[in-house]
Symmetry: C2
Subunit: 218 residues, 2 copies
């Protein structure tokens, strides 16, 4: 007979219907998991959780409408007994920080074996935290001295990152200066220093860098 622990009830939130269906099929084939629902975006995901109260949510990050981070935050606050396991690709570099801060219990990659997903789910329901090795390594790099905590952004100072974000949103130096209540000249200097550190020469390339790093949404 089974153990004392019930089979964890799981819902899947992902905008790709095919991926959802395939993953559900995959998990249903494993008797240690029970898939009890699917949703195609953040809104529907929150609503679904409020109805079925699952043990674990497999959450994609990039979705139309309410995205994964927002949905994670809402579920984590409104239904704290439900664990959230982020399941996404490894493109946007820093989203996992936002996701974990929003209340996710784990972060695994779509580029991993089905068995890994199952064991991650089981680990999460038992209270563990799960991190994909690639992500974990990055976290360790950021903590240990090899890569200073902020060194992730190629040595940019906080002020420079702040200004780079605004640049990447299409703001002019003058607007940034007004927003930050500093001189336009100062903004230009920060921007210039940023170019130096990133080894770029141009505002456009700064925008591309920021988009790549996930500092802004395109």
């Amino acid at each position: 007979m089974n153990t004392v622990v019930a089979v964890p009830r799981v819902v899947i939130v992902d905008d790709q219907t095919l991926f959802r269906s395939g993953l559900a099929k995959l998990l249903e084939a494993d008797e240690r998991i029970c898939v009890v629902g699917q949703a195609a975006d953040g809104e529907a995901g929150v609503e679904l959780v409020s109805r079925v109260h699952p043990d674990v949510v497999l959450m994609d990050l990039k979705m139309p409408g309410l995205d994964g981070v927002g949905a994670t935050r809402r579920i984590a606050t409104e239904f704290p007994e439900t664990k959230i396991l982020v399941l996404t690709t490894f493109d946007a570099e820093n989203h996992f920080i936002q996701a974990l801060r929003a209340g996710a219990s784990g972060y695994v990659l779509k580029d991993s074996e089905p068995d890994a997903i199952v064991s991650s789910i089981l680990a999460v329901v038992s209270g563990e935290r799960v991190m994909a090795t690639a992500v974990a390594n990055r976290v360790l790099d950021m903590l240990t001295g090899t890569l200073a905590p902020k060194e992730f952004y190629d040595g940019l100072t906080p002020r420079e990152i702040e200004i780079l974000k605004l640049v990447a949103e299409g703001m002019a130096n003058k607007q940034i200066a007004y927003r930050l209540k500093i001189s336009e000249k100062t903004v230009r200097n920060h921007v210039s220093n940023t170019y130096d550190k990133l080894k770029i020469v141009d505002r456009s390339q700064a925008v591309l860098y920021a988009v790549r790093k996930g500092l802004v949404e395109p």
Copy 2:
């Protein structure tokens, strides 16, 4: 007993392990399909096709290394008896043209029902061409007058699109002028007209527009 037509043998080429596994599970559950292999990138996909000679390849477009378009072209030329069904997301707007020109027999979206995939596979093996309705509508729009072939990019002329791409890659006006063998003034005029049509004022915002539209990779 079965019909005279053999069950189509299918291979899946996609870089996301989880998606591959799930889709394989999904298709294996359908007796009309037989999954005979998987590959994680274009190179491996071509090699796999050369070994097993499947009837259909389900091909993702965005992959590391040799991408889907390149793999499609190679398979279509080296193994013309193998049909290729592109299976991708609906982000990059114009990739489907390249894929079809490279020899794909169909273009379906990951955001669709499993049944649709199965019937698309069956249609492709029987010699049909399959297009996702969203894609087909776009093609029709481009052919009929409703939406001029180019009108998708907010009325930008071909030249303007060409220059916008270079702008979004971080090139300066002078460099673009040299590349296109025209005057810098002309480039500035094209850029200015582009701003006008897109209702933007700034180079940075042009980059963001181009990234959003998939004109350039971030």
